[in-house]
Symmetry: C2
Subunit: 203 residues, 2 copies
């Protein structure tokens, strides 16, 4: 991690916690564009300078509130059965992007990173390094188990997974995440084409 | 189309054209959050009331500028060969979402539709009715040709296609659309699993 990856950590963990909680509450309730440092300060019971000392802008505040406590551990649990693990990963990704806090923060951050190079780097790191690395380990285990073709286009599967989770979160918010995970995994594993000699589902 | 679907059309086509062109230029150059009715008026050489008479907010202005002239016809061209047609559709979708105007407008509109029911309806109509309808016809032709399994999950394939195009537009803007279309179609048709007896690529 370079000095580009984030603002300094606050010294008081309780203050940090209060600010993050307040930011999450306001993001979920009002959306990103209604969020302001002033509103967060009021909600958290701290002064505006307390926030500005730690975060250079509301985009970075929202980034940490939405993505800072991301449970990477939960995303990747290798049980030894590829399909089970892919389904768990997909479900975790769908649930994560469907979280109202993440959903609201993501749109604002994608907009603001156009003119904030540091924010641009942070989002790329989040998606390119942290999540993609976990996903690559999962696919590798599938290849080892003989469940995934060795020439699989890992990057495209990854982009498809995150992109679809993002689309569903924003455009199909009422979809059941369990059901969507099943359907997306089935498509990604088997494809829509008819070349493979699978038995047709009779349901 | 109900009265909810959009603002009244301007009477002067040249004025309409100038306002749309100015909005597209500013969206591509400055992004959605820097867009203002005032800047569009200046850029188009019209008065602010001229714009406000026709569009209730900058979100609706951006919606029409980005999506109003969408070439639906080009999205769907049925040649009789499913894989060719799917590839053309996918390439068109990737190119469309990768357009800087669309990319910028999409984020702003997704944010603002949270509190603008009319805008919410317009985006759902755009994606649910217009594009999804075209895609369903394409998949039906693939089933008829024996290239797509009859029990295909059309909605999930569609969500995957649009979601991945959105992700690539925002997170992988340097990707070549031809190449991405090939890779995405290959994944969606064949899947990543090893159950099918395809010959492995030797490349």
């Amino acid at each position: 991690m370079s000095s580009l990856t984030g603002p300094g950590r606050p010294r008081d963990p309780q203050t940090q916690h209060d600010i993050m909680s307040a930011t999450r509450r306001l993001l979920a309730r009002d959306g990103y564009d209604q969020l302001s440092i002033e509103a967060v300060a009021r909600e958290a019971g701290v002064s505006r300078p307390t926030i500005y000392r730690r975060w250079p802008s509301k985009a970075h505040l929202a980034f940490d509130a939405a993505f800072g406590q991301r449970p990477d551990g939960e995303l990747l649990s290798l049980s030894g059965d590829f399909e089970t693990d892919l389904r768990a990963f997909t479900h975790a990704v769908l649930t994560f992007w469907g979280d109202p806090v993440v959903e609201a923060a993501a749109l604002g951050i994608l907009t603001e990173r156009r003119r904030d190079p540091e924010l641009h780097i942070r989002t790329q790191q989040l998606l390119d390094e942290r999540t993609r690395g976990a996903f690559r380990a999962l696919v590798d285990s599938g290849v080892e188990q003989g469940r995934v073709r060795p020439d699989v286009d890992v990057d495209m599967v990854y982009q498809t997974l995150i992109g679809t989770a993002f689309y569903i979160a924003h455009m199909e918010p009422d979809v059941n995440a369990e059901d969507a995970a099943d359907r997306l995994c089935s498509l990604l594993i088997h494809g829509a084409g008819r070349t493979q000699p699978r038995k047709k589902d009779t349901a």
